[in-house]
Assembly symmetry: D2
Homo-oligomer: 341 residues x 4
């Protein structure tokens, strides 16, 4: 069935699969000590315009989030996130399992506001009992957010400035980073994101890879013995090449951007299809996830023809749904959707 269920419905972008085939019989050392991993890390550092960036490849988003956060916080510190943040909602308590509280700020279409962060920090530092409270130790945000929205350069800079002032690392979850970078709405580049954050990750799983996220420490701030840290959490691939080969391909000849642009072009066309049929968005987004508002009554029949996710019930009559595009989405899929709408 034609599916807009997520950006991880198919295998790998054909060029990544080809790279796996081409390198398959080359004997290499394990645990990331292979030439492909080294090459991928170097290409990513160059793309970030940060020669000293330290790049590690992990298998998925939750794993990357919990490792980055646990590596940077002291035990009694928490991570500040929008209340809709992935770490707060959809990771089965993975962050708390590492011992850390997620300190939440109100979400505005998936984004926290610098002024809310500032107010939280000022309140905390003014409290006479602060040693009995969880110390805000770092800030986590997603870009694009879980709701498909984007922080602008001004918004991200304001948050980064606060982090700097309060000596808190800023961590950006880029599970769908590519879709943000090529969004018609974006005013941030990869090197800018690398400079504004202390650590961030470049999503592979949702941007064409079978698996894999590239975690980047941008300020020569990767903790010592990080390989042991990862191994201890069961997150070290014996065949580290699996991520290395794929990311090497993603960062060769701009494939990461090419994949992202394809998905964005189709997402924009998808929006046009819904708009032409008279449907609104909640909110309107400019990345690869779009959120049309549909009459509740039409959804069951539509779901028999195409796959998509229910997102939120607005009221008895209207439901927000989610449609997602990726490298594997085709114009034919959209033609079909148009025909059944």
């Amino acid at each position: 069935m034609v599916s807009f269920e997520s950006d991880y419905i198919c295998g790998a972008h054909p060029k990544l699969l080809q790279a796996l085939i081409d390198t398959n019989m080359d004997a290499q050392s394990g645990y990331g000590f292979d030439c492909y991993t080294a090459s991928a890390a170097k290409k990513i550092a160059e793309a970030c315009e940060l020669p000293e960036a330290q790049v590690t490849f992990l298998s998925g988003g939750t794993q990357t989030n919990l490792i980055a956060i646990d590596a940077l916080l002291r035990s009694y510190e928490g991570v500040v996130a929008a209340e809709t943040g992935h770490v707060n909602v959809h990771e089965s308590g993975a962050i708390e399992h590492t011992g850390h509280k997620v300190l939440t700020l109100p979400s505005h279409d998936g984004k926290m506001r610098a002024e809310d962060l500032k107010a939280m920090l000022e309140k905390y530092y003014a409290d006479e009992t602060l040693e009995h409270m969880v110390r805000p130790g770092m800030v986590y945000l997603t870009w694009p957010t879980e709701q498909g929205t984007l922080y602008s350069k001004a918004e991200l800079t304001a948050i980064a400035d606060l982090c700097h002032q309060y000596k808190m690392p800023l961590f950006l979850d880029g599970a769908r980073l590519g879709y943000g970078l090529v969004s018609p709405q974006a005013d941030l580049t990869l090197p800018e994101i690398a400079r504004l954050t202390d650590v961030f990750y470049i999503g592979g799983t949702k941007v064409g890879a079978l698996c894999g996220e590239a975690l980047v420490f941008t300020k020569n701030n990767q903790p010592e013995h990080f390989l042991s840290f990862i191994k201890q959490r069961g997150a070290l691939y014996a065949k580290g090449r699996l991520c290395g080969v794929q990311f090497d391909a993603l960062f060769t000849d701009g494939l990461y951007y090419e994949i992202s642009r394809h998905a964005i072009r189709l997402a924009e066309r998808l929006k046009q299809i819904f708009r032409d049929k008279g449907y609104a968005f909640h909110p309107e987004t400019y990345t690869n996830q779009i959120f049309p508002v549909l009459p509740a009554a039409m959804i069951p029949a539509l779901r028999e023809k195409v796959r998509f996710e229910l997102w939120e019930k607005l009221d008895e009559e209207r439901t927000v749904v989610r449609f997602v595009t990726s490298w594997s989405t085709t114009d034919a899929d959209l033609d079909y959707l148009e025909s059944v709408l």
Copy 2:
């Protein structure tokens, strides 16, 4: 360079790669809710002759060990292992990171002895202060062991009987299970292992897959909400199909055994090559890892020609080394080794 460094030096067995190619564009749900994962689980349950076996796919060995152990122990319980057990030595403290002590027994060529286990349990239960001690909560063993040896059916049965008597689950780490099952020395079958253990895993990473281990709960004893448990530890693949497709191929037409037999045939030939040159083994093994004793003086020159691991210094003159075979090892590799020895 010709490499006998490990059984994870190359990518995937070509048939697994082909399966990934063939299924690549088939849109499926994520998180293991795809048809390939379902099919692989069913084939494994059948191969175990246990229709009610519950099968979950995880990315690597340490991850699988820590999840299985943490899922089955109460917080104040520990896992009993041979002191050479992987969980005790080579996982950067992953088990302790889950909060559990590894209680060790002496290793006899990598194996614990049932009589030592019995003595430990009797001593523990006779101690007046036992509530202040770590309670032996389960038993962990590897098959084949880290030293390439195998528990016999009698040995495994004796341990399983003790586990049963003391109500402790028996967990078998089968990272290299295939090599044990087809070993000339083995007297255990997959269904027998499934029946004797409470939980075990079938290694994929070291037996031809890019990644993946199949964790099998054999007694309808998989903990409730196990998906949340896995997700919380960052171990749930978004593209669960990655493991599903590979294990489906491994358990189609006996490929898992075919791969293992290839490696064992070459390991036996490798032993013959060393034996013919007059080298002994320490110990002699019958799986895909062999441990020749070489004069220390010859090792540096040999390492310039082929890759292998140093294992243990016997004395100033003699060093035990490790040579490993796998699906990617060829007779040509062995011809070359023979020529340079």
Copy 3:
């Protein structure tokens, strides 16, 4: 200086001190296996009218909360609390350190509402991605609350009914339980609380003891090997008698109630003093903590004469402060306060 800073400003109620003196030279076994601990546990079970209640003595509130919660939750479960709950705000992240999320509900003068709890549970169970979310595993509430308020019998029963329906244990933090039980506003007795909850604790530290809280499992539901569980968390006293002797005295001849009534009488008189001077309360409470609203300008001079805590800034001109009474507060203290106001 005369102090209304908290209910733990002095040592122990003289009768507890006398009991420690009287029993001091009696040789007893350690770790709670002494006759005083046994006697205290028995008296508490009787006071609860639950002969099968299982009573354990721990040193303080945070320790008791983290042990009770960690003992009852599975790793991926969280504890539901009002957002003002002590476990959510003032325990330096102790609950998260055990690996569990605190799931918050809005606070209404320190209390959660059954309807909000119901809505949270219904939303969770209706979510298609619930396995990726933290499972509500138990409910935590304080009685009296951190804000000095009390759940009525109807309110507590409504919450207990929901807990029962959703199979979630209900845990009541009674750090100041005595002050609730004798409050003019209370309509709940100790046996009723014991019956409505699955586990609760009777606070000693804030009700006359040097240290100690009595944790009560009410439904024969204390986890197995609970002594090991406690020992593993560093919470087992070698001289368990320290708590045993004090609680034995507290539950002899109604001393626990007598101490509480004394504090409540003085708190009511304190309210009258403030009311007579024209000050309002925010909110008005009927336990041993009262919250007058004072002009910000008068606070510095007042604090030079008596000790009390700043609670919350209402606006630029008005600040809520907290005055607390206990067994050690005297009418003379109040006379003095009246004279300086």
Copy 4:
């Protein structure tokens, strides 16, 4: 019954009880911000001849061990201990519960040897796979040991030198420190111990207090926000004065030494009683724990008259038992024992 069961069979030394009575009604702030805690900390720093020593009071030994160890190790590091070390045997897995492995060395009458430690460290640093192994991060030893023995100044210095060389903190568990300091066999003073270690604790519970251990960071190396760290583990007393008052008394006019000397005098007399009756020791010790070897056949009858612990079965006929003295032991207790032997 006359009891030699442990050094925590009675309440508090009368002078400590008197100090609690004397200070009972003095209103003080909570959480260790009282004048008695400040005074006790100052006296201990002076007794250590280390004005910058940072002193914190905790309730018991296991709690102190787990907090000190968890505060100083990174997650993938372990603590090195003799295999008989309290943290390895009798804390229900408290150290592993904080996530850290206890790396064991052979015990020689309860002590590790510097040469064994050196060999362990050299082996670890020579291993090519060390990043997959638990990193030795600190050293733990007890003084006196669990078996009543003492490291000499030369032995402790050799271990401290290795720790220094390998940049590992040295932690000394002084649950029974006083008994070591006044032992006829000791050649170490409190200031020497303070200088040789990075962190150690002065036991109160077993040396006359109701509860309490004084944790001393000796090199201005107490972790930041240590109060939050302690609070998060449920180890912060609301009435911090409970420990403060007792330790203030213990370190006034040499009471800590006086208590210890009393116990040692009686222990030496106890040894003489057993020696006179022809019993040997296993091993002979010079602290407040003595270990006579008794005929197994005589033990049941003796246990009906005096309390003591069974320690170890030497063979079918002989059992090592433990007799312990403390401030509460009297010459009359020994006269009685002598009469029944």
